[in-house]
Symmetry: C3
Subunit: 424 residues, 3 copies
């Protein structure tokens, strides 16, 4: 899987994406090779709750020619150099004038920052502070941005994978940043490869909904269409973002904190035997802000690794391939898949012999003779399951009561159901 | 403020107060210079629940002449020398007889203890153990107590500061101990100066009730008259006592533990960045015993510093001006004032755009371009507020969810209300 | 008490008990000298929920003669040598054949393991690994087991000690293991001697039910008869097992976790000032498995010391007299007795003067003069009691609120009831 992840990463990374435009569409097309997303175009000007779909932005080229004839801030070398959503310009100007349109970070002198201006028309360039310092103060600069900002549409993709029930599990991520790794491509890649694992499950109780949309405005457009239905049907959901580097897992709870999404995530993380943190819902984040807005308040959490705004490379050219790990990305996918497995497995069962223990021995489910040093875990897990299946307590809670994994209970279900002493 | 506090302290300290009498009235008159308390006289013999107003006690002088002619236990030098509520006496007696009427503390040989006998008629003197040890065992002592114990009345003072609502916030303290500092004057001084700050607030939601009464019997008399009304109207209350020394803050919760009084106090203390302790309700205390008695069970807590019975100078002549700090007293007043500010500010709001986030940018409430290193706290506080204003969660709880102060949310309220995206 | 415990232990230890048979009956007869249990015989073949009473097992003798004429695995020397419930056999066989019927523990080479085969007919011997290793591989072995497995009955004993109410407190233990100490005799001995203490109480609110039965099948037979009644009446119950060695106390909660059984046990253990552990209900245990099965879910916990399956001597010949301590056993009995005392004392009272404090001084329940250094605990405990007796909060909860023992409140009850200010 890691090799494949890397191949797709390498194809997607160079593309200049934004919240609209052909870079976005091109990225969706590549992802469709992995997950058959259905794409939707939402026209410029469409009202979505408090928002409106902006003009579509496309860009061909951008650069600056310095007074001494050097080409700098070359979009073709790094698309972060251009202020995302820049209006077109081709003009000769002084350094003083140019300076008002340059973005850099003094504290990170070798990084090109990622800056956008979606909702106020502006043009600009992003540059490392090291390079900025070398710019001559006199003479004439030529600035060129060959972009367009016109009526068009915003693109999002989704896919519904039907299960036995119309109750849904949601996976959502964003596609809208140009060449960045952890805070852009880790989400869509993990979501797409998670889809590949889920689609192979023979039996699925829940319908799975996969959403890839430009952050904020894209998900708002999506929720304007499907939000009320999803509020009704979603039992658990996760926003996949910043999940591709080697940092420890962080699970950000939904506002509900005790939703099935949260219970399953905490349960799986607890039994992985690797460090992790649980944090409450907070607005400094991604699209869980929309899913958990007070009107929706859906059970949507988010499993990340090095989190947005918490690592210094965030939103700069340093969030690149060297920052991430395909091994870590695979572990993220597997962990999310374990969330799905736990949700699918979790259910409420009833012990059909509720008064005193069922006699397991006569059914071949308990040994006839027990040596004092025998490992009793397997029998005790089975008896524990029977002792707590009261028709009210679900399997995750039953596992939590013994501090074992729900997957430790799994092998006991069928034998007990076949023996007639357990039923749904 | 500290200078003023000290001036009033110096005027109040020498007066011999008790639960009734002219020393009490004289003290009330001085306090009325700061807070316009209305005084009430409750006649001797009035029944108040299980209690009855005792006779009024007044005293002019008291002393002992030793066999060798020395005047000791001179009331005019320190009014703690006389057993509070002593009956009058003028008699010559042996040391043996006198000894039955002397109170001292072996373990604190330089302290004059404070002892009372309100409900059983007795006379007596309080003396340091150091002095007690020097008393000649032979010869005749002359004891003089020029006091009176007669039908009269008990005095208490209160003031109602009307707010927009008839829901009330209570501040209660006692006035009844003779010359002691932390465990007597810190309470009335803090209450009076807190009043001065509250009265200057331009707008007040809550009606504030200020009560100064002799401890126990005075508050019982007050509650016999107003208790049922207060039980209905009081949303938060605090007993102000032992709050004038430099010890760390201790907040004693009401019995309810989760009342608004408790929530506000814990919230303010948490964000002061100075050490403090939270303790449960306990009967070893002051008038919260009456306010929180099982029939009333009002939301009344108490913020103290070095607490009654927990510091060795308590109830002795060593609880004097040197024990307290006017700087600390001012901080106590400011902290109580913050409780009031938090209670006044706290309310339930509703985000008028509950589905997905409101677009703050178009309202000038979010920057158009965001550099990666920007300090996002101010925007995140604002978005956090909007994300949790669901018409049910109040501001303190919303602040607690982000571990910030309610005062961090305050500057966002008006801009959001004016923008039409927040309402009560 | 310790001497008596030891005498009974020495008489009971050598007897070969099982889940049925004369060894069991003989043991009951000895216990009846301490507690007048009523014995019941349940015939072979009786259906009890999912189970059926097995044939009755009796044994006279068992041994092996080695090829060199040595008598080993001599039942008369240690009854653990025979597989409990062995079918009769008298036969000459090869080592190879014998080996299939030998039980030993490599990891504990000097221990004879305790092994049973109640529900599948088999014969066998248990032997220390040290001895096993010396057995000649060639030649003929003679195996003799003079046992019988025939229609008969299972014996259990119970005793109902009537109290004022038909609400019950249950004490249950098992009798069925041959010569073992902590995991057999500690339970019946503690239960019997606890009975002796309870029967001496002058007044008992609760009816006490004492049950001694073979583990699992015996209690299942008992519950088949009385379970529904007990489910209705039992307010607290305890399974007494593994409670005779010097290990620290472990309290295993009922599934309810907040039942009166659990609250009382935790309260008493907290105030004993000796180390202890509280653990949740788990199926690796004793007859609480039946009492807490999902259909019954009774408030039944268990106080143990070194717990089943947690000490290496468990279910071997090393769990003998040297493993236990009669001093510890006495402390177990006293602790269980404190559970009973707490349950008996615990009740809901009402302060008849709920508005403000009752005036204790006029009733002689508070001193007229209080020196600053007085120990206020006794008055504060009394006032605390009055402050929380609201007709809803019980005494254990009231004590917990002050982190004192319920027995600290006990001396205040009668004076306050007699003074007319407290009532049930």
């Amino acid at each position: 899987m890691q090799k494949e992840l890397e191949t797709y990463f390498d194809r997607l990374f160079p593309i200049c994406r934004s919240i609209t435009g052909n870079g976005l569409r091109q990225s969706f097309e590549i992802l469709q090779e992995i997950i058959p997303l259905q794409l939707t175009e939402v026209p410029t000007g469409t009202k979505c709750f408090d928002w409106e779909i902006p003009k579509e932005w496309n860009i061909e080229d951008a650069y600056i020619i310095t007074p001494d004839g050097k080409k700098i801030c070359d979009f073709k070398k790094n698309n972060l150099h251009v202020l995302n959503y820049s209006t077109p310009i081709e003009q000769e100007i002084s350094f003083e004038e140019l300076d008002k349109h340059l973005f850099y970070i003094k504290e990170m002198p070798n990084a090109i920052p990622y800056v956008t201006s979606y909702y106020k028309e502006n043009w600009g360039f992003c540059i490392s502070y090291d390079e900025y310092k070398t710019l001559p103060k006199n003479g004439t600069y030529k600035v060129v941005i060959k972009s367009s900002l016109e009526k068009g549409s915003l693109t999002y993709g989704d896919l519904i994978l039907k299960g036995e029930s119309d109750k849904e599990v949601l996976f959502s991520t964003y596609l809208c940043h140009p060449s960045m790794a952890n805070n852009e491509l880790s989400g869509p890649l993990c979501l797409a490869f998670l889809y590949k694992k889920i689609v192979e499950l023979k039996k699925r109780k829940y319908t799975c909904r996969f959403v890839i949309a430009p952050e904020t405005i894209g998900v708002i457009a999506y929720l304007a269409k499907y939000g009320m239905y999803m509020k009704d049907k979603t039992v658990a959901g996760y926003v996949m973002t910043c999940c591709g580097d080697a940092g420890n897992f962080v699970y950000k709870m939904s506002k509900q904190e005790t939703s099935l999404a949260d219970i399953a995530a905490k349960h799986i993380l607890k039994h992985q035997n690797i460090p992790y943190t649980i944090i409450p819902f907070a607005v400094g984040g991604s699209d869980e802000r929309q899913y958990c807005s007070p009107g929706f308040n859906m059970p949507v959490g988010s499993l990340t690794r090095s989190m947005y705004q918490q690592y210094k490379e965030y939103h700069t050219s340093l969030d690149d391939k060297s920052f991430i790990s395909f091994e870590a990305m695979q572990k993220t996918i597997e962990t999310y898949f374990d969330f799905v497995r736990a949700l699918e497995l979790n259910d409420v069962y009833k012990n059909t012999i509720p008064y005193c223990e069922p006699q397991l021995g006569k059914r071949g489910l308990y040994p006839h003779s027990v040596n004092p040093t025998i490992n009793r875990k397997i029998f005790h897990d089975r008896m524990h399951l029977l002792s707590f299946t009261d028709g009210k307590t679900d399997l995750i809670e039953i596992a939590n009561k013994k501090n074992i994994s729900i997957f430790d209970l799994e092998p006991h279900l069928n034998p007990l159901i076949e023996a007639g002493i357990l039923k749904k």
